[in-house]
């Protein structure tokens, strides 16, 4: 959860931040507009040793590198209705389409292995695990992805995604990592299959001929995970560390572009103008670090100002810190409780609406030329 990143801001500063962010329009510390991302520079195909790789550097200097490696793996050996054809042999028809059915259900966890490396954090640290789970969850939720990995009924590709955060984690790295992963997958190519049918696969070793995992001509794109937060009624995208420190609620929303998705006959009518058809893959609540911020002391109960009352009444009353006070204007109080449903709905809506931020981000990423 985000609370792992520590912010040292005084209650006064927090109160100020919160106030300025809940203005309409909100005033962000770095002067961005609410749905504006940090400027970034990206490049792909930086590592010849991998099937696909990408590097993104945010303007604030945070930098991540993602490398994708693919290995051929026997399918079989799954506790599935179609374990009938274990070693790819003994093929019978309904085995095949059953398999299809099952893979459509979000596919096999084992086909994708995603690891996140954050300097200074153990790789089994719960925050890191949370990140990894979030990113892989988005990938797997899109059934089409796993179908891409199928070679034939006996064999499939296993993808290894290694995500490295190069810079020290200045802000919650989720957006950065997600964008980088997206690019890396876009640039990923798998060797062209030469064998046909269910025979053991062998491949064309001409790299130039290797097709992309996400073919260029199709509109399909890997998922991106956006970090959205709300302060008061304002919705703010790609929040910086300081902004997270006063967030009321933080959501991580994963969307993907599924223009070429067959199956449910819905997409035809509501294609929007640029033919992009967004799909909601996963939403997670991220624990806002604001809950762990130190509260301010309203002047009334500030003993330093001679109002000894608080001290005195507490005199012989253990637990009397519970003496509650109404929220005082300009005094920071760590938020309690959760978020109203309406707010959450608005967040998601803002992400998904046509021409919304998700659209913009995907456009921006398509602009990156894939070497």
């Amino acid at each position: 959860m985000a609370s792992q990143i520590h912010v040292n801001l005084s209650p006064a500063e927090l109160a100020y931040l919160h106030a300025s962010l809940s203005l309409t329009p909100p005033i962000r510390p770095d002067g961005r507009s609410p749905d504006q991302y940090r400027p970034l520079s990206a490049e792909t195909g930086i590592l010849p040793g991998t099937n696909g790789s990408a590097r993104i550097c945010f303007a604030d200097g945070t930098e991540a590198i993602v490398g994708v490696k693919a290995e051929v793996e026997k399918t079989g050996r799954r506790w599935d209705d179609d374990t009938i054809f274990l070693e790819g042999g003994g093929d019978d028809e309904e085995g095949g389409d059953k398999e299809k059915g099952s893979t459509q259900q979000g596919g096999n966890k084992e086909w994708v292995e995603l690891t996140v490396e954050i300097p200074g954090q153990r790789d089994d640290d719960s925050a890191t695990v949370f990140l990894a789970q979030m990113l892989s969850e988005a990938l797997l939720a899109d059934g089409g992805f796993v179908e891409r990995l199928k070679i034939n009924r006996g064999w499939h590709w296993k993808l290894y995604l290694d995500i490295l955060l190069i810079s020290p984690p200045l802000s919650y790295p989720l957006p950065l990592l997600s964008l980088t992963t997206h690019l890396a997958l876009l640039s990923t190519r798998l060797p062209r299959l030469k064998s046909e049918g269910d025979e053991d696969p062998f491949f064309d070793d001409d790299w130039a001929a290797a097709p992309y995992l996400y073919p260029r001509d199709k509109k399909a794109r890997p998922p991106v995970t956006l970090l959205v937060m709300a302060v008061g009624n304002n919705i703010i995208f790609d929040p910086a560390k300081e902004e997270l420190a006063v967030a009321d609620v933080v959501l991580a929303v994963s969307v993907a572009d599924v223009a070429d998705r067959k199956g449910k006959g819905v997409e035809d009518e509501d294609m929007d103008v640029d033919g992009r058809k967004l799909k909601l893959l996963s939403i997670r609540t991220v624990d806002p670090p604001s809950r762990l911020t130190p509260p301010g002391v309203p002047n009334a109960s500030n003993t330093a100002y001679g109002h000894a009352s608080a001290g005195a009444t507490q005199q012989k009353m253990p637990e009397a810190r519970a003496v509650e006070s109404e929220a005082v204007e300009g005094v920071w109080k760590a938020p309690r409780g959760g978020a109203k449903l309406a707010v959450m709905g608005a967040l998601v809506q803002k992400v998904l609406q046509k021409g919304g931020v998700a659209d913009e981000v995907l456009d921006a990423l398509e602009a990156v030329d894939l070497s």
Partner: protein, 270 residues
Amino acid sequence: MPLDTSTYSLALLRVDGRRWNELRRLHAQIRTQAAADGSSYLEMGHTKVMCVVTGPSEPGPRRGGGIGGGAGGQSKDAEVVVNIVIAGFSSVDRKRRGRGDKRTQEMQSTVANALAASLHTHLFPHSQINVSLHVLSQDGSLLAALINAATLACVDAGIPMTDYVAACTAGSTSTYAANDESADPLLDLNHQEEQELPSLTVATLGDSDRVVVLVCESRVQISRLEGMLAVGVDGCKQVRELLDRVVREKGQRMILEGTVEKGTGLNDLD
């Protein structure tokens, strides 16, 4: 696959077409990253390493892989903490090694101690210098590359140091079993050669003959040590020159861009 050294004896050319005393292409950059105090990117052949230095700073909570000179920032010298991440995709066949991996830890402490020898840590008491290294691709001479990258990053970070710590590998043709004295020493081995031939990694301080790091992990006749060491040491001198050039060029550029004030006598330096 076994590397037939016979071809070498014929043409005196190595598998990748180098002579015995040739380095691979060494490409390096410094100040690759805005966020860090110091950063560098270094390629030796296909071995690619990134380095980020933060500090000298107040020692944070003890992190994993915290192996270094001082003792928990309590010492009167700055503690050099090195953290090496070997990316899963770096080697040809993907293998993932966790933080606990002993070999990585050994390299961490080696780099840390090598730097500590050259950096003026006594200038920063009770503080910590964090060096985090990322291995993006490996093709032999990994340790050497790590040391060089770390040195560059420290230069970029502006941490006072005695001199560059430059490293490279040296090997010897024909395996230890064949006890021929005619075996030639080799410079800067790649992965294939490292697998087949006896090799050692040597790092020297500046252009002196003084060895900071000497690591040999393969069986070799003691008689051959001298030859290999000699080649290695003078390889290090070449490497130092290259590193030095990188730094100077960057310096020049920064002056032209006006990012830094032009100091006096910088022209007579180069």
